[in-house]
């Protein structure tokens, strides 16, 4: 009965209200069973292939690399997965798991709307009731995705508490779960939350890194020198990093520095401190009284004052590095990839591109950067237009 530790050194754990604890145990058990069941694996693999379109391509960003004048950059194209981001890998896996557990109702939180769309999609595919909590501010910022969720038959519930963004949507989803836990699976959208969620989400996203590792090997016969991904809660990053963890590859997670680390930002690992939020012990943004402070990023998917516990552990053990780039730099990154490669990335992803653009010129042309292109930018074009317009003034 005594756990007293996270899955990741001092980080992780189950800091949840008692009402939820039996459900977390049930989830842990169901996940372990599913892992050992070849039929579950086969069904998931088939869905990933025939419905999501995996494996996703690995694209050599030749013009981008040439323009930056250093390392060769390869893009792992999660933007080409069904629904346009990596989030579907996790959503489908957890919907299959919820079916195994006989839960007829699924709830989720969403920031950018990508996880909400992915969850609504997976639920539509299996005819499961789907409710998505979304901060009112994000409902405004991501109107297109709100409409998409509606088309997919999901109910979107705007959340009016706090800063009305991702953190508040998670609070509200947890409250729903506390109330409806017997019938409901909480389909959390990143590698956060109480154990076993960070492990489940990591495993479901690890297809990113596994595929990319094999694909790169096939194309250039070696491992990347650097792997880079953006970090909100950290699911696409851990999915890219985890299969490379025992390899001599530099792992770099890029957080959102918003308006700068001395102003409003969402750089939890770079500028936060250890704490407990949403059921897990990790790094958080907080004041000296332990109150969680509001995050800020131009990208709704990175606008979160917590981070997955495994990233806190990778930072503590110095296996991975965490850096941050500002809203402005991310906008430049988005433009750069759009103009050089004909790929409009999500604003979240643009943070990783901006950082790759900083380090690539310092590397040699026979070195390689593997970049997790976590999602496409269609959802963001309005925000980008507004931001670029106001920049001109």
């Amino acid at each position: 009965m005594t756990r007293e530790s996270g899955a990741f050194g001092p980080f992780g754990g189950q800091f949840a209200p008692e009402t939820l604890m039996p459900a977390l145990a049930e989830l842990e058990e169901a996940w372990a069973e599913a892992q050992g069941d070849p039929q579950f694996r086969a069904e998931l693999d088939e869905m990933l292939r025939d419905y999501v379109g995996r494996e996703t391509p690995l694209t050599h960003a030749a013009r981008l690399s040439e323009q930056l004048g250093g390392a060769q950059i390869w893009l792992k194209r999660e933007d080409l997965a069904h629904t346009g981001a990596h989030k579907i890998n996790n959503a489908l896996g957890q919907v299959l798991l919820a079916r195994r557990m006989g839960k007829p109702r699924i709830i989720a939180e969403t920031g950018a709307g990508q996880h909400g769309v992915a969850t609504a999609t997976a639920c539509a595919r299996f005819g499961i009731e789907c409710i998505v909590y979304m901060g009112e501010e994000d409902v405004r910022r991501q109107a297109l995705n709100v409409f998409r969720m509606g088309l997919l038959g999901a109910e979107v519930v705007p959340v009016k508490s706090g800063a009305r963004t991702l953190k508040d949507a998670i609070n509200e989803a947890i409250r729903d779960w506390v109330t409806n836990v017997r019938t409901t699976h909480y389909l959390i959208g990143s590698a956060i939350g109480p154990h076993p969620y960070p492990v489940i989400v990591r495993e479901l996203q690890s297809c990113i890194g596994r595929e990319a590792r094999d694909q790169l090997h096939e194309k250039i016969g070696k491992l990347p020198d650097v792997a880079i991904a953006c970090v909100g809660g950290g699911s696409n990053a851990i999915g890219l990093f985890h299969p490379l963890i025992d390899d001599p590859v530099r792992l770099i997670g890029v957080e959102a520095a918003g308006e700068g680390l001395d102003a409003r930002h969402a750089a939890t690992l770079s500028a936060g401190s250890p704490g407990v939020l949403h059921g897990t012990r990790s790094y958080v943004l907080q004041d000296e009284h332990g109150q969680i402070t509001e995050a800020h990023s131009i990208s709704a998917g990175l606008d979160y004052p917590g981070v997955g516990p495994e990233h806190a552990w990778l930072m503590l053990t110095e296996r991975a590095e965490y850096v941050s780039v500002t809203d402005e730099e991310a906008l430049d990154g988005l433009k750069l990839l759009s103009e050089t490669e004909g790929i409009i990335p999500a604003l979240e992803t643009a943070h990783a591109i901006a950082y790759a653009a900083k380090i690539a010129p310092q590397m040699s042309p026979d070195e390689t950067i593997l970049l997790g292109l976590s999602g496409r930018g269609d959802k963001d074009v309005e925000i980008v237009r507004d931001a670029l317009e106001s920049r001109e003034h």
């Binding site: 009965m1 005594t2 756990r3 007293e4 530790s5 050194g9 001092p10 980080f11 754990g13 189950q14 800091f15 949840a16 209200p17 008692e18 009402t19 939820l20 604890m21 039996p22 459900a23 145990a25 508490s161 706090g162 953190k167 609070n171 947890i174 409250r175 506390v178 109330t179 836990v181 017997r182 401190s273 250890p274 704490g275 407990v276 939020l277 949403h278 059921g279 012990r281 958080v284 907080q286 000296e288 009284h289 332990g290 109150q291 969680i292 402070t293 806190a312 503590l316």
Partner: protein, 291 residues
């Protein structure tokens, strides 16, 4: 130092011998609506018949709370409430009633920060959860608290914390919910001192019209595994709820309904409203005369 839980034991024993219905413990949020008003509200609650207290510590992200407490925490934090405000409320209650069992109740993260502000060593991210709670335990005990409830510290994660609290003469008060398995009830039963807090329903805090239908069965499952006194909270708002649960457990905790009473009373009349409400809910005054 007296062993943890002596005020709880004495209060429950005295109540059993009086046989006049359950103890009523109001949940008062330290700093709501303002830090200045809290001491008056504490004293008013005692005049109204409070047998003890849960003093709530506001948190920015209260995942087990319904809208009433969410809003109240936001108001309190905006008014400048901190852990110290709640500890001041504990002190006021202790000065006013030397025998009342007083429990500090809150979420883990603000409690963890109490350690790190006094002792920079606890900033070490590698420590167990118990160590950083040392600062909280020390300050809660000094203020006169008897126990601490940590809403998001389940029994599975609690042993280090429980030890730290015990070293300061404090009980770690555990929560059980209708969803708790017998295995989990037994784990709590093995560790509990003071009382066990039964969450009456599957859900967040907030007044409800009725006591949950499966509450009696839930009490039965817990009773079968422990003799520790039980208190019930979540959803209890009316005199008839208190009378009903009082047949099953020796104490009832009133939260959101009291918070609403405070929030909706005019400034200047809040202490009187708290006193009146507690008189009614404890049965010391009939509903009619309160109208």
């Amino acid at each position: 130092m007296t062993e943890p839980g002596h005020r709880y034991r004495e209060a429950f024993a005295a109540s059993a011998s009086r046989d006049d219905g359950p103890l009523v413990f109001p949940f008062l949020i330290g700093g709501f609506p303002t830090p200045e008003e809290t001491p008056d509200l504490v004293r008013a609650a005692i005049r109204g018949g409070a047998a003890g207290f849960e003093i709530g510590v506001p948190f920015s992200d209260p995942i087990a709370d319904g809208p009433v407490h969410q809003d109240a925490y936001t108001v309190a934090l905006a008014a400048g409430a901190t852990l110290d405000t709640a500890l001041d409320a504990v002190r006021t209650a202790r000065e006013t009633d030397p025998d009342a069992p007083i429990t500090l109740m809150g979420y883990l993260n603000p409690f963890l920060s109490a350690g790190s502000s006094e002792d920079s060593e606890t900033d070490d991210p590698g420590g167990a959860v118990g160590e950083p709670l040392e600062g909280l335990a020390k300050r809660a005990a000094e203020a006169g608290a008897d126990g601490v409830i940590v809403v998001d510290l389940p029994v599975d994660e609690s042993d280090a914390a429980r030890e730290v609290f015990a070293q300061h003469g404090l009980s770690l008060i555990y929560l059980l919910a209708p969803t708790s398995t017998d295995e989990r009830i037994a784990a709590v039963a093995n560790r509990a001192s003071g009382f066990i807090y039964l969450v009456s329903l599957t859900g967040v805090t907030g007044a409800r019209d009725q006591v949950a239908a499966d509450f009696e069965a839930f009490v039965g499952r817990v009773r079968a595994l422990t003799d520790t006194p039980l208190a019930v909270g979540f959803g209890i708002s009316r005199r008839e709820h208190v009378a009903e649960v009082g047949k099953l457990v020796p104490a009832a905790i009133i939260g959101s309904a009291l918070t609403t009473t405070i929030a909706s009373a005019p400034v200047g009349d809040r202490a009187a409203a708290v006193e009146r409400y507690l008189e009614v809910v404890t049965g010391h005054r009939s509903e009619e005369t309160s109208e």
